[in-house]
Symmetry: C2
Subunit: 181 residues, 2 copies
DNA sequence: CCACACTGGCTAACGCCGTTAGCCAACGTC
DNA sequence: GACGTTGGCTAACGGCGTTAGCCAGTGTGG
């Protein structure tokens, strides 16, 4: 949790206006539409004026990323705690918020700024596999990979993606105390 | 394999020049540098002339994607056939060719054009888990997710990523004939 | 042998992008 | 009431993908 409290939004008031506008555009029109001019227009302002509140387009994106990660974390807590439940929550949030998911999890991130929030989002998965950190991060990788492949349409048409999730999550969550190296 | 023979390069001669130039730029300077003007310059030509050979920047990207996927497929066959070996080959190729990997596997793809090649790349993973298709695609998701997270620097500093791979791949490759639903 | 179409270059330009420079009105403060 | 700060504005720059339109060379059919 540290000192950047996740529950209260971040940045100055005008910065929050900006990210709110960007968010609206992102959700309704996708990432390509999130331009400085477009965001400014959404606020009834000219593009260069944004730079009075924000040094870069990059910081707008970082703010979006933080927002997305926080919402994602909440979504992952909204259902059951069993691996299948968390996995299902992961997938369904990502599919319902593809652009937000993109912002949350793709593109490199600055660890200092985002770390706590990201950890907040990752926690449910770690709990779900009973605290085995390696297994938990593997499950995270699995979930992210499957979602990313699905979002980018890499599965042949007709693939039973549910079955893949079941197979993967069950394998990852299974008791492995009997198998040798 | 079908009729688009994977072993012979694709497109007209000039198209192959173009993708070769784009490839050189992509590898040495990253995706942002792959612009039409830059590619044209690489060929000693003006940007608009490219459009005599290519309708779109999109087709250049598709050609890059196909090339990358083909090379990736070869790399996945270059080592052992055991799950760990294939997984290791997957990871190491991706980390050594991050931009190519990006092109190969991220961004949506047209199934008709790329399907065969992609299947070519996915085969080794399917074999590695003994033909269980769901498990194989889960393994693919796992590998993709872990690579993507690593490339985008989503793991806390100091994370033992090897251990995550071991945990994940072993779980996915384990004999599961004893666990109930 | 020449007309002609086609191929593959070229320049100029358009509308977008992020961003900078410089101007100015409103406002709060000493 | 002078004055610095805040937050708008317009103009402009360089880069992007892309289109329009021009033209030299080339090969081919009559």
């Amino acid at each position: 949790m540290s000192e950047t409290d996740r529950s209260r939004p971040v940045g100055t008031e005008r910065q929050r206006d900006i990210v709110a506008a960007a968010l609206r555009i992102l959700i309704s029109e996708g990432p390509a539409a999130v331009t400085m001019r477009r965001v400014a227009a959404e606020l009834g302002i000219q593009a260069p004026s944004l730079y009075k509140h924000v040094t870069d387009k990059g910081v707008v994106e970082e703010l979006l990323q933080q927002h997305a990660m926080a919402e994602f974390g909440v979504a992952l807590r909204s259902g059951g705690r069993a691996p299948r439940d968390v996995a299902a929550a992961y997938r369904s949030w990502a599919l319902q918020n593809p652009h937000l998911y993109e912002f949350a999890v793709r593109r490199p991130m600055r660890h200092d700024a985002i770390g706590a929030t990201e950890q907040f989002a990752a926690e449910p998965l770690i709990e779900a596999v009973g605290g085995d950190r390696d297994r938990a991060l593997a499950l995270l990788g699995l979930a992210h990979g499957l979602v990313d492949l699905e979002l980018n349409d890499h599965f042949p048409r007709g693939t039973d993606i549910d079955a893949i999730w079941r197979a993967g999550v069950d394998a990852m969550a299974a008791d492995r105390s009997s198998t040798p190296t």
